[in-house]
Symmetry: C2
Subunit: 271 residues, 2 copies
């Protein structure tokens, strides 16, 4: 998918919502456990009920790997279902990978070619050659961790280097890498003020924003500082949407929550 | 496996070798492609031929994920084969994972419980709560990236923070985390002098050292600065061993290369 196609979809749906498909067998409705592939069945129903309200889906690979071979199969079925039925939706493998050059190439092929995701999240610690192999893929996006909203996020990201914070250094350095136009960044939503500062470094790149809702971030504040002329934000919600209900009507409950967020986004976009 | 059991094995075998099982179908002997699971067959033969010379095996998960479901199955068969036949050998899932707390727990369960690896590599960028969930597992080890030997390794790791290098800060901060005695560290071998400095921060922790051989590191120099009374090093070689031969005698060729390295290590240990 091209960046323009993503923007077009956002404008059409009046939504920059991303739904995190972080499926935990202990949290899904019990009746689904009788299906041959409960995780896929759960995802399928969530997707069918929300695809018109969201522009992206983001399965976190940890939740699939935790179930071994079966989980990997559920992930494969989920991405195939998305690509076959809703090819207009942007897909994110939230894998946080990163390794030396030739090994990162293996990961890039796994997620971009075999699984055919539109994007994958990566970690920056190993530097240029751990990320650049991902950037060589045309019309694919590499979403690099910049500033995360978890408890330990600032342990290293908030340290001062070269007169700025490490996450700022990560942002500015990454812009010098080959094909850096294929980058997006993960920026957690717990402190909206950070977005003003981050936009000084990456005024036009898309930011993937987890942490609105469950992790305490506020959509309006994030948008105040983070929105660009091309929107430039994908705001993720996982548990708040997919576990809104816990019965046979869970997909409807998820749809209601997604609709609430989409309506809030629409209001912001039309201002 | 306990740290003491690992040390005992090192002393018994006079070896602190780790063999990287980074299997690429394009590089293995052609005749193996006729087997039902060529990757597992390759690993099995390498393992059977080298287990007495090495104390650890390290499959890099990227090489398995690149083959999708089939690859994941080969990984599962490989770790099961190791645990059933050579339980004395230390096993490392080179996965470089790391995510927010509850998600890291999923990864930890996947590698420590389901696959039953003795250890897993992790990336530090997301801080304390991305690593601590791994550290709670008894007799399991978490091998955190500290200083890597790839081209971009110093892009961020070499930056100065709080008057020291980022990798030094990562080392010293990680020692304050809960169960930090379950940590080991990845330290690349390209510059042996770094080991002297690293030992000031982590005098007793094991270091996993890739980059001897293919990536240009020198075993003697690494040992000069990195060895402790309990050895404290696992020196990895992947391509140099597993691709030493390319015919039906590939396992024997691998054994010869492993033997060369083990002899060199024995010489260093007996000095």
């Amino acid at each position: 998918m091209t960046k323009q196609e993503l923007i077009n979809q956002i404008k059409l749906k009046k939504s920059f919502l991303c739904i995190g498909l972080d499926v935990d067998l202990e949290k899904i409705p019990k009746y689904l456990l009788e299906f041959e592939d409960p995780i896929f069945e759960f995802n399928k129903q969530i997707i069918d009920a929300t695809h018109h309200l969201t522009v992206a889906y983001k399965p976190n690979t940890a939740f699939y790997e935790a179930y071994g071979l079966k989980g990997w199969k559920s992930l494969e079925k989920t991405i195939n279902y998305l690509n076959e039925n809703y090819p207009e939706v942007f897909t994110i493998a939230d894998a946080k990978r990163g390794d030396i050059g030739n090994t990162s190439t293996m990961y890039a092929k796994a997620f971009f070619e075999d699984l055919n995701f539109d994007s994958v999240t990566v970690a920056p610690y190993m530097g240029s050659d751990s990320v650049e192999p991902f950037l060589t893929f045309k019309d694919k996006f590499t979403i690099m961790l910049a500033l995360t909203s978890n408890k330990g996020g600032l342990d290293f990201q908030g340290l001062t280097v070269n007169g700025k914070k490490l996450y700022q250094e990560v942002l500015s350095t990454s812009l010098t890498w080959k094909n850096s136009n294929n980058l997006m960044y993960v920026v957690g939503a717990t402190k909206a003020e950070y977005f003003e500062d981050i936009r000084k470094y990456v005024p036009n790149h898309f930011l993937l924003v987890p942490g609105v809702g469950a992790q305490g971030g506020n959509l309006k504040d994030v948008c105040k500082y983070g929105l660009t002329d091309e929107i430039g934000l994908l705001v993720n919600s996982s548990r708040g949407i997919i576990y809104a209900g816990n019965d046979s009507d869970f997909a409807i409950k998820a749809q209601e929550k997604a609709f609430e967020l989409q309506q809030e986004m629409k209001g912001i976009m039309l201002k």
